[in-house]
């Protein structure tokens, strides 16, 4: 897709103030494999945006670009009013503290207990006393219903518990934006539903704006304010769950069957 046509993919969220996040015309290639070809996404404040798409369409690459783990070849990414590609290291690290990222594998630190995992993002915060940090850890674990697991090692936790602890760890910094990379991947339908409800609770309690990458359409139904479908590195379509479920496009409808 050329750049002109890709600009037509800009997704506006009317009725909102400044968007929490804006991706404009980003391109990313690995060797000769072009993954993102001018993708545009706008995330409104307080919105849950679900991203659907086949494997290899660039969903994970997109959210890794948002936090600066992958640098796009072209385009701009504005997060909370700041272009992340122009930030210095220190500024970027400060901005990252306002973005929560739940990894597909939860990415808990194997050598640390649950308490130490949650304490880890707080370690550079000199304004908090040890007691206050402990209080925050307990609060975050309580919010995901896992206070009992505070002294356990990650290897002692089930898949669902790991995801919850991973979520608690990202919430401890009280982020304004949450990025979920397949939060229900590998979980049973009941646990998936619980995680879906938890994502909604996080939105209510922390007033976060979220991008959720998932293949789990049942989960998408619970959490999505808006859904976009990616294909070949660009946005194929967007709309609410109901709009896409009744889409004329067979490719889009296939996700809902």
């Amino acid at each position: 897709m050329d750049k002109n046509s890709s600009n037509s993919n800009v997704i506006e969220k009317p009725g909102k103030d400044e968007p929490a996040l804006q991706i404009v015309n980003i391109h990313k290639s690995f060797k000769h494999n072009s993954i993102l070809k001018g993708l545009n996404i706008t995330l409104g404040r307080g919105e849950n945006l679900v991203v659907l798409g086949k494997s290899g369409t660039g969903k994970s690459v997109t959210i890794k670009c948002i936090v600066g783990l992958i640098i796009p070849d072209e385009g701009n990414i504005t997060v909370l009013g700041k272009n992340i590609l122009r930030l210095k290291d220190k500024e970027l690290n400060e901005l990252r503290k306002k973005i929560g990222f739940l990894f597909q594998s939860a990415a808990l630190y194997d050598s640390m207990t649950v308490r130490e995992n949650l304490n880890f993002p707080l370690r550079t915060n000199k304004s908090l006393s040890e007691d206050e940090k402990e209080e925050l850890v307990r609060e975050a674990l309580e919010n995901v219903g896992l206070l009992d697991a505070i002294d356990k090692m990650p290897s002692e936790l089930s898949g669902g518990m790991r995801k919850r602890v991973g979520l608690a760890r990202t919430l401890i910094l009280k982020p304004q934006i949450m990025l979920y990379d397949e939060p229900t991947n590998g979980l049973d339908p009941i646990t998936s539903k619980e995680i879906g409800n938890l994502i909604n609770d996080v939105k209510e309690k922390y007033h976060t704006s979220s991008i959720i990458i998932t293949h789990d359409i049942a989960c998408a139904k619970i959490i999505a304010d808006r859904i976009i479908v990616l294909k070949d590195g660009v946005c194929l379509t967007e709309g609410t769950y109901e709009e896409l479920e009744n889409s004329d496009n067979l490719e889009v409808r296939a996700y809902f069957e």
Binding site: R96, I99, Y109, D110, P121
Partner: protein, 269 residues
């Protein structure tokens, strides 16, 4: 763009080279040089991860004492038993403590201890970091605003650099004790006499260069282990590859550094 300088060199983003092997070799050398430069820059700038440095020093140093001690003891014992017949043939059996001491302090102690640590510590670091990379733990640190290079890499390299000299000194002492035991299998030498002969036989030029080179050996083990683990990119297969290549490369580097150290010592003393 500031983000760009934080990123690992990605061979995937390059076009096809004319001579792939040569290209890969020079790419690896360039990446290792940049990695080393980043280490020296990071080690001098705050924040300093002191608690993690102490923890790594405990894991790398203290936990290696038993293995290093046992190998050191056997090294001293075997060297003495093997050398005795040859020295006895020339009627120089009384030189045994001096010969063993010089061999162990100057060469065998530092090199064998470094190789043992390359196997134990280097492979451990390589596998641990590679596993952290594969399971996105390093990415998780980065997105939570913590500099993973400082926390993971700098502390491990520094701990290796500081702990290896201590392990070598420990190994040398245990090896000399093993040698003392071996001397007493076929003879009767007092502890005082044996160690006074050992000390008399050693000069500053034997001890100091041998001690200094152990810092470099430790640095090489930490650096290669971290480099291989930090930049692994082949999933779980990459974990094994990182551990394996960390041992092979750091062992090779130890021999090369030893050769250079011997040449420099020879020129200076």
């Amino acid at each position: 763009m500031d983000l760009a300088k934080n990123k690992r060199p990605s061979p995937q983003e390059e076009s096809e080279p004319l001579f792939p092997s040569l290209y890969n070799f020079f790419s690896a050398i360039t990446a290792l040089t940049l990695f080393t430069g980043r280490y020296f820059k990071s080690v001098l700038l705050p924040p300093f991860e002191f608690n993690e440095l102490v923890r790594q020093s405990f894991l790398i140093g203290y936990k290696s004492f038993p293995l290093v001690g046992i190998t050191g003891f056997i090294m001293g014992l075997v060297l003495t038993i093997q050398s005795r017949p040859t020295l006895a043939e020339f009627g120089a059996e009384s030189w045994l403590p001096a010969m063993v001491a010089v061999s162990i302090i100057r060469e065998i102690g530092p090199v064998i201890t470094a190789l043992i640590c390359a196997g134990k510590v280097g492979s451990g670091i390589g596998a641990e970091l590679a596993s952290m990379r594969v399971t996105e733990q390093i990415d998780a640190m980065e997105v939570s605003g913590i500099n993973p290079f400082k926390y993971i890499v700098v502390t491990r390299i520094l701990a290796c650099t500081l702990m290896l000299p201590i392990l070598v000194v420990f190994s040398d002492v245990i090896a000399l004790l093993g040698s003392f035991l071996a001397v007493n299998i076929n003879g009767d030498v007092t502890f005082t006499l044996y160690f006074s002969q050992v000390i008399d036989s050693l000069a500053f030029s034997d001890v100091f260069p041998a001690f200094v080179k152990t810092f470099f050996f430790g640095f090489a083990i930490g650096l290669i282990g971290c480099f291989k683990g930090y930049y692994t990119d082949k999933g779980t297969e990459g974990v094994g590859l990182a551990a394996n290549s960390a041992v092979v490369l750091s062992s090779l580097l130890i021999f090369i550094m030893d050769m250079i150290a011997v040449q420099i010592t020879d020129l200076l003393y």
